[in-house]
Each structure stands twice: as C-alpha cells, then as structure tokens.
C-alpha cells in the first residue's frame, strides 16, 4: 500500500510510485479514451463469440459465423483451380514433346511441375534435384532409361522396378558374388575403372576385359557404354550412381544394385505427371 501524496505544483494526487524522484500524476483518463477502451473490450468479446477462439478440451469454439481458415483455403484452392482449368486441359491434351513451342503453357507446366516435384520427388532426388548416392541426379545429362520428355514421363508414371505397376521399367543385375570368384571381380572392376580413368593396372584390366565380355557386355555393351532399354548404366562416363571407386564397384558387382521408384500414375493427376516431367526435363539434362 503506497502512501498518498499530492503534487505541490498541480495539486493533483500522485500514484505514489517514485522513479528517480519523479512521480506520476494520477490524472483521470480522457473520457473518449476510456469509452474507446470499453468499446474495444466489448468488440473483443463479440469477436470471440463470432469467430473460432476459445480452446476447449477437444478443439476450439467454432464461432457463430461459420468461418474457418481451412474452408477458406479450400475455397482459395478451388478458385485457383478454376482459373487454371483452361491451362490444365490444354496441358492434358498437349503433346508434351512440343510444349516449348507454347511458351505460356510451358511456363505454367514448369511452375506447376516444380511444386509437384518439391512435394513428391524431393524426398529422394533432393530439393534441387541433385539426387544423392543411389538416387539419380536429374540435373546432369546422364539418363539410365532415357532423358527425352516422353521417356521421363514413362518413368514418372510407372516407376522403376516396383511390383505395383506391371508397366514399370524393369531390369535386374545378378549378384555376381555367387557367380564369379573374388579375384575375377577384382579384375573386372579394374577393367571398368580403365574405361573412364587413366590410372589403372593394365595387366589386371586385361584379365578383367575377358570376364567383362563374358558376363557384363550383354547388358552394358562391349565398350561398357550401357543400354537404355534395360537401364544399364554407361560405365565409361564420369557419372556414378553409387560411386566409381574400386571398393564401391566391387560391392556393386558382388551384390548388385536394385534401385526402386514407385509408380506415380495412380497417385498424381495426369496434369501433374505431365507437369513434373516437363519440369525435370527443363532442369538442364533434358534431351
């Protein structure tokens, strides 16, 4: 309880609190100000009645205006979908390979595809589409199954080596650990290294070349240039999905690799599949 004091100069009672010797006058508030405050309080109460506000045990009060952010977002989305309906139907009808000839539609497809990509594909391929070990980099010019827009679209629609889609791209490399001796694997790895590196053991590689011709060339080609029909990677270029060092290659040959991608056909709309294919194609590696 503070002591009541009166300010000598003004004759007004002070609040009794002193800050560095300065005391506050306990002047009344302007009437309009006070009424504004009361009005604001009434407004606030009315507002919390009208709109969802008070947290309850299971959910909040709903308000009496029937207003909800979720419904608003749904309405906004519907509006945008309405606005884009024309573009979407064009996209679904278009021949995607010729899309760059229609700049507006192309721009729309890339923008939409970017959104689809970030929501569905970035988990494996990275937000920038640079991939990771075992997940292909979509920015470079190396394609296991083909990099023109139709090939990309097929991959997106049906996926890779999955069991859900009968049309999924499928191939399987045997685990050569059960077929070849470890020394033979070492030799064939040295041969593979020789295809793209300048630094290798020529004698060992020559042995490996024989093993390669017998076991690997049927899929990877005599020169190791790969075969797109089977998704067999080019072994002579600078790009390795799992790594190009001898140790990794040894593991790859011994146990084989089996990357899987789900089919997106059943999950995405037709326009989304087309859009995301156009987007991926536009990232710099499209053929």
């Amino acid at each position: 309880m503070s002591e009541r004091k009166t300010d000598e100069v003004t004759g007004v009672e002070t609040t009794g609190h002193s800050w560095d010797g300065i005391e506050e006058l306990n002047n009344p508030l302007p009437r309009w100000w006070l009424w504004t405050l009361y009005l604001c309080i009434i407004w606030a109460i009315g507002y919390t009645i009208a709109y969802p506000a008070w947290p309850m045990i299971s959910g909040a009060t709903q308000g009496v205006m029937g207003w909800s952010t979720r419904a608003n977002v749904a309405a906004d989305i519907a509006t945008h979908e309405d606005n884009n309906a024309e573009l979407v139907s064009q996209l679904v009808a278009a021949d995607v390979a010729t899309l760059p000839e229609h700049p507006d539609l192309n721009r729309y497809a890339i923008a939409r595809g970017g959104a689809v990509f970030r929501a569905n594909c970035s988990q494996c391929h990275g937000s920038g589409a640079a991939g990771a070990k075992g997940y292909p980099n979509l920015l470079d010019d190396d394609w296991l199954w083909g990099g023109d827009i139709d090939a990309i679209m097929t991959t997106v629609r049906h996926g890779i080596r999955n069991t859900q889609d009968d049309d999924a791209r499928y191939s399987e490399m045997p685990a050569f650990g059960e077929i070849l001796e470890p020394a033979e694997i070492d030799a064939v790895v040295e041969h593979v290294v020789s295809l793209s590196h300048s630094d290798f053991d020529a004698a060992l590689a020559a042995q490996g070349a024989v093993v390669f011709a017998d076991n690997c060339a049927s899929c990877h080609g005599d020169a190791g240039l790969g075969m797109r029909e089977m998704g067999a990677p080019n072994l002579a270029d600078a790009i390795w999905l799992y790594g190009g060092d001898r140790e990794t290659l040894h593991k790859t040959v011994e146990f084989s690799r089996f990357g899987v991608m789900p089919p997106w056909g059943p999950r995405l709309k037709e326009a989304d599949i087309r859009a995301v294919s156009v987007y991926v194609h536009s990232l710099g590696g499209g053929e």
Partner: protein
C-alpha cells in the same frame, strides 16, 4: 486501495474555442496551408509524357504493376532502397528541424495541424469567432443551432471527401479514376479507401483535434530527445512579464478595449474578418531586452488572456514549456498585438532559446540566432542528411536502362556431366526499362575457359518485351580439364548487351568447380 473518493475515473474533454488572430505567423501559416494543400490536391493531376506504353501521370504509385513514377524517374521494386533512402532523409530532416527549431513540423506542416486549421476556419466562418462559438456551445439545441451545426458538418464532410478522394488518385490514372468514381464503376477498394479517409479526416479534424496530438501521436514524446536548451522554441519571457496584471491598470484597460474591438469585428461580416490592420513582419530574432516598466515595477504581461484564447491546444504558455505546445506561434501573434497596443516592445512571447534566459534576465544581449542553430548536433544531422541524399543521387545517375540480377543456383553448387565437364546454373533476371522490346545478348568474361548456354534457347539472345522482366536460366560449363572445373571457385562476369542501342551491363559472380586442385 483507497484513492481520493471524489476523483473521477475519466475526464471529459474541455472544449477549446481558439480565437481568431492576425499577425506575421498567422499569415505565414495561411501560406503554408495553401501550399501544402495545393501540393496534396493537385499533384496527381500533373501529366508527364513517358511514351505510348507508359502512364502519363507525373507522380504515380502503380501498385498493380509494382512501379513508382516520379516525374522522369521510374522506380522498380528492386530499387525500393530509393524509397527507403527518402524515408531516412525525411527522418533525419525531422531530427534536424526539431533540434534547431523545435516542433516546427507540428506547428506548420503536420497534416493534423493543417486540416484542423482548415476545419477551424470553416467553423469560424459559419459559427463566428470564439465568443459566438462559446455562446452557441452553451445554448440549447434550437433551430438556429441545428442550422449552424449542420452547415458546418456538411462543409467539413465535403472537405473530408475531397481529402480521401485526392489520396486514391495517386494510385491510378487520375482522370480515368475520377470518371469511374462518378459513374460508380471504380474498384470497391477505391470507394473503401475514400470512405475510411473521409471518416478519419472528419473525426480527427473536426472532433479529436488537439487530442490527436496529445494522446495519439508519439511525436511529442519523442521530440524531447531531440531538443535541448539551444533549440529555438515558443516561450514566454517571464522575467519580463511577471508579476503580471495588477498595477498596469491603465494599459490593461486600453488593451481590453482593443480586445472588445477585435471581438466586435469578429462578430461582423465574415469576409472582412481577416482584413485586420497588418503590421510589419517579424522574424524569430529575440527582441532586445525590454526596458522594465519603471513606473509600476510590474511586468509587461497585463493578464489579458489573449495568448490563451488563441491557443488551439488550449494551454497557457506562461506556465512554461508544455508537452501540448505545437509551437504554432499563434500566441506570439496575439501577444505582439497586445504589446503594440499598450506601447511595449514585441516579443513577450517569442521564438527563443531557453539557454538565453540568464543573459536576457540580466539585461545582456542574447546569443545571435545562428549560434543557436549552428551546433554540432545540427551540423551532424545536416551532414548525415546530405550523405544519404548524395548517395541516392549517385545511385540515381548510375542506373542503367538495362539491368540484370544474377542468382547462382546453389542447390547443388555444381553438376558434373557425363563427359566430366562441370556445369553451374544461374538464374538471370533481365530488366528492360525501355518503352520498346529489346534483344539482349549474353556473354561471359573469365580468365579460365568457360562456355555459356541458355536453357530452352538455341542462341545466346533473349528478347525482353517493353517495360518488363524475363527470368532466364543460364548454364555455364567448364571443360573437365579447364582450370575452372578443377578449382574451388573461379571469378567470372556475366554481360548483357543490347546490340542495337549499344548499351551493356554486367554482374560479377563465381563459378564453383570440383575443388580437386
């Protein structure tokens, strides 16, 4: 908690009925009002020919297209630092003026002051001067009172609508908008804006008035940090005026008689009201120390209350410096008028620096005006203000007609291609500020070997439509055995060139290699 039982929770506003005043500062304020209101209402109607595809309004804030046009200057969103710079200059200018001349902004150019002044003018014109208004205020609601009040409100409303209306013209082509507004075709946002600004003008200028300055505006509280004893402000020379009133009976009577004449004039015809006898203009130079009234040994103030009656803030400046005072100088005019009539030198209330008080009290000459104004603080503010201003001017003149921004894509920082080449991606935004489409050629300079390519294009040329931007993905590739592919980073410069107009622009950026070297 026991507080004084008779202390009310709230206090009603004490209505203020400022009396008409004549004088140098009042006339000066009329001029300022005419000029500021003129600028506000007329600016959107100035035309400026920018060519066919651009708007021909001299000052236009084109929010839809995100452009700001000011005479020959066109500001794009990425150049918003110009606006930020102007705001900083406005802030520094306010600091400068406040530290030198106190609340000149409040007293002369603040919209709240200007519109309140205008509304008061209307009020005086319709309801008469102070005494008449006081009487009307106390009178019961008669037909006469209703008629005056309604007339006043209607005129206020017209001014308010014009105020809100003028604002929206800054945001779109004024003649078109006026036509649309009149035919009820304009966008609802325009009508809403006008309605809100009309309401605020009407309420702030007509009813809230000084309360906006006292309770709503933060400025009176901030200004204290910018003023010091050398600041020129409105003050009462109490050493000259006190003890007031008593003992000056003769002179006081004379002044009161004059007051009555003024009041009678005020009650007369409206048009002649402001044609009072003018007297020579006065600067803000402090008057020479007054010769004290040796006959009565009383001060010069005759307690006629003229200074209080004219004050739009309803305060008595003789009580010393007060937060409410907006330094509008009307009390100076009022008191000078009285001083002239009782044959005393002017300047009992005056623009003066409080630091001069001891000198003046002792009868010595005050410091000259320039020594009050030229202080380290004001010089510093001026220097800062000039610095920002020169910087902005410099930025304005080095602007080019073409521009580019380069944002290197950093996710991932580089891509290795199947032949071992290393590629970087850049998002290049090309801006064409000209009134016609232009074709830009992109090129590259770097000490190390690099090649450039454009996404989705065969050539290195991009055509940008008039007055717009294009975002172009650019690939820069280093061959596997080039130094750039092996180094960590390599400096390079991207050039944009308009071959036909012979202008070019460039941006420096870096190239990320494999970092194997």
């Amino acid at each position: 908690m026991t507080s004084q039982p008779d202390q009310p929770l709230y206090a009603a506003r004490v209505p203020i009925f400022p009396r008409r005043v004549n004088g140098f500062f009042r006339r000066f304020k009329w001029w300022i009002m005419a000029i500021t209101l003129g600028i506000y209402y007329l600016t959107p109607w100035l035309r400026w020919d920018r060519g066919a595809s651009l708007p021909d309004q001299a000052v236009l804030i084109d929010l839809a297209n995100r452009r700001f046009y000011f005479l020959w200057i066109e500001i794009w969103p990425h150049e918003f630092y110009f606006v930020a710079g102007l705001l900083i200059m406005a802030g520094l200018g306010l600091f400068l003026f406040t530290s030198a001349l106190g609340r000149v902004w409040c007293g002369y150019t603040c919209p709240q002051t200007v519109w309140t002044d205008l509304f008061l003018l209307v009020e005086r014109w319709i309801e008469g001067d102070r005494n008449a208004r006081l009487r009307l205020h106390k009178a019961s609601w008669s037909l006469h009172k209703w008629r005056l009040r309604l007339t006043k409100w209607v005129v206020w409303l017209v001014i308010s609508v014009a105020t809100g209306g003028a604002w929206v013209f800054y945001f779109t082509d004024a003649p078109t908008l006026l036509r649309d507004l009149l035919s009820f075709d304009a966008h609802p946002v325009a009508y809403t804006t006008i309605a809100i600004l009309t309401a605020t003008t009407f309420i702030f200028g007509g009813f809230l008035r000084e309360q906006v300055c006292i309770y709503m505006c933060p400025w009176p509280r901030i200004q204290a940090a910018m003023m010091d004893p050398d600041t020129i402000t409105v003050a009462y020379r109490d050493w000259r005026g006190e003890p007031r009133g008593k003992g000056n009976a003769k002179t006081r009577k004379a002044a009161e008689a004059q007051e009555a004449v003024v009041a009678a004039q005020a009650a007369g015809a409206g048009a002649a009201r402001y044609a009072g006898t003018p007297y020579p203009g006065k600067g803000t130079q402090p008057a020479t120390p007054p010769a004290l009234d040796t006959v009565s040994d009383k001060g010069d103030c005759i307690d006629c209350m003229a200074c209080v009656n004219v004050c739009p803030m309803g305060i008595d400046i003789r009580n010393g410096q007060q937060m409410e005072c907006i330094t509008c100088a009307l009390c100076i005019d009022a008191c000078d008028d009285v001083m002239a009539r009782i044959g005393k030198p002017r300047g009992l209330i005056d623009y003066l620096a409080l630091s001069d008080e001891p000198a003046e009290r002792a009868g010595a000459a005050p410091k000259p005006l320039w020594r009050h104004i030229l202080r380290p603080r004001t010089i510093l503010y001026t220097a800062m203000w000039l610095l920002v201003g020169v910087g902005l001017l410099y930025a304005l003149f080095i602007r080019s007609d073409i521009e580019l921004t380069v944002s290197p894509v950093r996710n991932p920082t580089f891509v290795v291609l199947s032949d071992g080449n290393v590629r970087n991606i850049y998002d290049v935004r090309l801006r064409n500020k000209a009134g016609e489409a232009r074709t830009f050629r992109l090129s590259l300079t770097s000490d190390d070997l690099l090649q450039i390519g454009l996404e989705g294009r065969e050539t290195l040329s991009v055509t940008v439509p008039a007055d717009s931007t294009v975002l172009q993905r650019v690939y820069v590739t280093a061959r596997a055995d080039d130094p750039a592919a092996q180094e960590d980073t390599t400096a390079l410069r991207l050039w944009v060139e308009d071959v036909s107009a012979q202008i070019r622009a460039s941006k420096a950026t870096t190239f990320n290699g494999r970092g194997t070297k």
